[in-house]
Amino acid sequence: MPMGQYTTTFNIDELITSYIDDEIPDPELKRQIEDMLGKDASLNAKYQSELLTRNMMRSRMPESELPVKTYQSVITSIDSIIAEASLKKNRGTVSQESVQYPSFWQTIKDTLTGKFIGVPRYAFAVLAFFIIGGLFVFSGGKEVKNPYILAGTEKSIMVQAVNSFHKILDGDISPKLRSSNAAEVEKYVQQTAHFNAYVPKIENYELKGVECSQYNGQELAHIIYENGDKQMIYILQTPVTSVEKKNLDLPSDVHNEMVNAKFYMCDQVDETDCTMTLWYRGNVICVSMTTMPKQDMYAAFTRFNK
């Protein structure tokens, strides 16, 4: 009989704890507890009191979102230890081989100069080198790893910024207003897109102009800067209301980071490993894209966004 088993190991208060958590598998014991709770007012009060405590902890202490930087740092660290392990393995293999197999290079030479269907094997090796190299250059040798870009739909502000940046790089979008005058650019955005854009002065970069467009009924401004080496900083801007009206999406983790840390910066957002930065400026959401490495963008950003 299960009750005997319980009564020799638990007290009734603990049985109530188990009952609250639905951790009593025996239906008969469960029924007996319910019976007791119905008859014994003080026991019932204990039960209600514990149930309230548990429910209150559940409802008043909700789960926190996993910060994106925590996720990213774990993934990056795993990649690093893989790279480190591969490197060690390779070093170990090469040194071992050079000691134990002195004819290693001779073997390679023989393999490459041998013929396959009448053609020297090195010809295939050269061909493979160009194909693989071409793919590497074409893709930039990088992968998109940002979880919000990977999981984002076209409605995501982050995805919009990546897409628009590439259209600008490809020449599919060019500034309708070409001007290096910030006031002119601000006025153009105000007249065309009906919001107050933020046009900062960026050290070593020249303002090239602005284009406005619409997505999902939402006005967007694309502001373009370039330096002497033709390196670009592109800033997509849209009013905060675009997210409130659900015309565009902004991941809640990213929003939290923008509020708490004042900005959210990430790389690995596209195949060319561009750096993206998001921040609020008044009632405007700004998303910059650049081919600059993250640490350089961080230095530039903290100088211009004061």
């Binding site: 638990f10 009060a45 795993i78 392990a85 393995k89």
Partner: protein
Amino acid sequence: MLNKNNVNTNNIIKNKELEEPEAPVENDEFSEGEDNPLDELSPQELEQRKRDFEKEAIPHMKLLYNYALRMSGDQLEADDLVQDTYMRAFRFFHKFERGTNCKAWLFRIMKNCYINKYRKNKKEPSKVDYEDVQNFYDSIRDDVVDPNDLEHKVFSNLLDDELSGALNSLQDDYKTVVILCDLEGLSYEEISEFLDVPIGTVRSRLHRGRKILQKKLRDYAKSRGYSVESQV
């Protein structure tokens, strides 16, 4: 028939709970002292391990982060703990038995990291004096507040900080089970697996943890001027 009087209400629990508190982990199975097991793997094996790890372990990161945050009460420390846990888990992923509970396995690693971290910092996680807890528990075990009063006068008027304060004031062993069961929604079996203690101990700690929590919350309420009388 189950009867309040036929149940031994005190002694058995007292004995059961007077177990040794958890000692810092000196050389756990995930300690960094061991040679890096990844060095032996080929690039293909490493990539395979990464894929498996992403499938099995990464989805539990949010849960672990929340646990770390609630245990440490500090975002930076929680970040460090998660990072440390996942690095060790990846290195020692060959020790994880496929088909078993990966969440509990990760929690065990995190617990060791947590304990070791405190040891490194020359601090110790709060050690539980079970005799003190027992005495305190005995003094409050029959305290009952009218549930309606409790809800309206106490709980609904408490600030979130006070709830966190009450939770953080629990000793680690009690706080752990309350967090895992009440906040993370783990079953007794999962908690037992994670803590490597019998299910009965989980139940007992949970009951006491909640009881102590209630008392703290009532104290907060009293200190804020709410009248909460106990009925014995």
